[in-house]
């Protein structure tokens, strides 16, 4: 049950990322000038008849964020009560801290008229929070608890894979931050042509916005290379390991879709839906790369954790909520 709820929270967070990206893609970030109120109303009593224009996106985003915040409180409390792994309890606390900080950042960016550093930090923390929810869902899964094969020794112990998968996840996050910087400095169309830059491989002219935009394009190629390296390693060395093969294959498909969406975003002049799907797909690339990385590290977690987690699973099955 806990795993299912954690998965639900992660899914809701993905929806929240989409809602947040629509705010920026539609230029609605300041359509509600006040926070935490909405035109003087409590955000929960603001009349639906007034959810017009940009308010639909900004106010909707705030409501969804509140919902995710509430779900995170429930998740954190549930983890604290039911989880035998101390670090998991604190991971729930960190999720709660992150979502509260995220709400504050969102409010600050509105009150200070969307300063680029604050808006970019809001976007960056959103991805971190999403990663935490995905990690919690992963750590509470039967496969993780069982060690992917029934015992910790049966897990994949591949130092090269751990290195390349971890580096890939880090590169994906870096690329997301560059993309967020590009979005919030209005550099999304600084190079309005794709795939070439003003008819060249390297831009013939440079401004700060062109530099940020070009860095994001180069970053896409770097990330693609890292993902292909990770996936190739798994396909070649761990073909029989479903816990690695599935996310690795998904990761390749997602990054190809992401590059296509990025090109279409430019060619469409930043169509709001293509632009927003590009943001969400980026989050999914990050989450999937994180799953691959974490699963590559599974074998390094203590054996005792497996036994304790099994005991909890048994007791949960027996409808007991007391920690072992």
């Amino acid at each position: 049950m806990l795993h299912r709820f954690a998965t639900f929270v992660a899914a809701c967070t993905a929806v929240l990322v989409l809602a947040g990206s629509l705010v920026t893609s539609t230029g609605s970030g300041l359509s509600v000038p006040d926070w935490p109120t909405t035109y003087g109303w409590s955000m929960f009593t603001f009349p639906p008849s007034k959810w017009v224009g940009g308010i639909l996106y900004e106010h909707g985003h705030r409501l969804i964020a509140s919902g995710v915040g509430f779900l995170t409180i429930v998740l954190a409390v549930w983890l604290w009560i039911a989880e035998p792994r101390r670090w998991m309890r604190w991971l729930g606390v960190s999720a709660l801290g992150a979502v509260v900080a995220q709400g504050v950042l969102g409010g600050l960016t509105v009150l200070f008229f969307l300063p680029a550093p604050v808006s970019t930090a809001h976007a960056g923390l959103a991805e971190i929070f999403f990663c935490i929810t995905v990690a919690i869902a992963l750590f509470t899964s039967r496969g993780w608890i069982a060690g992917y094969g029934g015992s910790a020794e049966a897990g994949v112990d591949d130092r090269t894979l751990r290195g390349v998968a971890t580096a890939t996840a880090a590169l994906v996050y870096t690329q997301i931050i560059v993309g967020a910087t590009m979005r919030h400095t209005d550099a999304g169309l600084a190079i309005p042509t794709f795939p070439l830059a003003f008819g060249h491989i390297v831009p013939p002219v440079w401004t700060a916005k062109i530099a940020v935009h070009y860095a994001h394009r180069v970053g896409a190629l770097v990330v693609l290379s890292a993902i292909l390296a990770t996936a190739s390693h798994i396909w070649y060395h761990h073909r029989t390991r479903r816990e690695l093969m599935r996310p690795a294959t998904l990761l390749v498909l997602l990054v190809l879709a992401q590059i296509a969406l990025g090109g279409l975003t430019v060619l469409s002049g930043r169509d709001m839906w293509i632009n927003s799907l590009h943001v969400v797909c980026g989050a999914l690339v990050l989450a999937t790369s994180l799953v691959v990385a974490l699963r590559s590290w599974r074998v390094r977690f203590a054996d005792g954790e497996v036994a304790r987690a099994r005991a909890v699973r048994l007791q949960t099955d027996n409808r007991s909520w007391v920690r072992a």
Binding site: L30, P33, G53
Partner: protein, 273 residues
């Protein structure tokens, strides 16, 4: 262990209550937001305070023309707000290129004395400047006002707007006006040409204001004409600003009680996105 569980659960519950209270703050209704700032010495030019002698003052007049065919104005879709659709029965277009009947004269050009006034000071303006949000459009689209002069912002629409000013020199502000006939007042404390306004709820709405520390400014109508009256003798730089076509400047030397005509021409090919 059980005591710690109870304590921690209580802590989480308190956090949840705090989160709920903070988001339910100021429940119900709306607040009229007033963004009035302390008025600076309205309209006073920097410098020694010399007054203009009406006995020697002259005028600079002119016509702003457009060389070439005016680009088409972008059509506006107001689907985002049913009230805006209801308020506007006819098709709506941006007011970017407003020309006279012959297509040769240009409206919504802000013309002003950019340089040459030296040490003159001027009486503060009487009355307020006004911008109205009506039928989901700003009225006027381009206008001028004085430093320190109150700007009255009115929402005449039965829907909500936010008025978001994005100056570079003055302070940015973004005020919500959820109620029809709501008024808020704002003053700009520094001269700035031009300050854009937008509504983040209705993305098609835009307006521009020129804030000056003297009274010599005008906005052209469909006939392209402007008149800067009561200028003391001297040599001036006259600048004409258009939201897409950029600026054009002209120099004029005015003698005592003289009227000079300064034609200004914008090239249609200069239009930017």
């Amino acid at each position: 262990m059980r005591q710690r569980t109870v304590w921690v659960t209580g802590l989480f519950s308190a956090a949840a209550v705090a989160l709920a209270v903070s988001t339910l703050a100021c429940g119900g209704g709306s607040k009229e937001a007033t963004t009035a700032e302390p008025a600076a010495a309205a309209g006073a030019a920097g410098g020694g305070g010399q007054k203009v002698d009406p006995a020697t003052a002259g005028d600079v007049t002119g016509t702003v023309s457009l060389d070439g065919a005016a680009p088409k104005n972008e059509a506006i879709k107001m689907n985002a707000d049913p009230v805006c659709l209801r308020e506007n029965k006819s098709p709506q277009f941006q007011e970017t290129y407003m020309v006279g009947p012959d297509g040769k004269t240009l409206a919504n050009v802000f013309v002003y004395v950019k340089d040459g006034l030296g040490n003159y000071s001027f009486d503060p303006p009487t009355g307020n400047a006004t911008i109205d949000q009506k039928e989901c459009r700003y009225h006027p689209h381009v206008f001028g006002m004085r430093v320190g002069q109150p700007l009255e912002i009115v929402n005449s629409d039965p829907t909500l707007h936010n008025i978001h000013a994005m100056p570079k020199t003055n302070s940015e502000f973004n005020t919500g006006q959820p109620i029809q006939n709501m008024k808020t007042t704002h003053t700009f404390t520094a001269k700035e040409v031009m300050v854009p306004f937008k509504c983040d709820v209705h993305g098609w709405m835009n307006a521009y204001v020129g804030v000056l520390d003297h009274p010599y400014f005008a906005v052209t109508g469909a006939d392209g004409k402007f008149s800067l009256k009561g200028l003391p003798p001297g040599t001036y730089t006259i600048e004409a600003w258009h939201e897409k076509l950029g600026t054009q400047t002209a120099s004029v030397t005015l003698g005592a009680k003289e009227t000079k005509d300064v034609p200004i021409t914008f090239k249609a090919a200069a239009a930017t996105n």
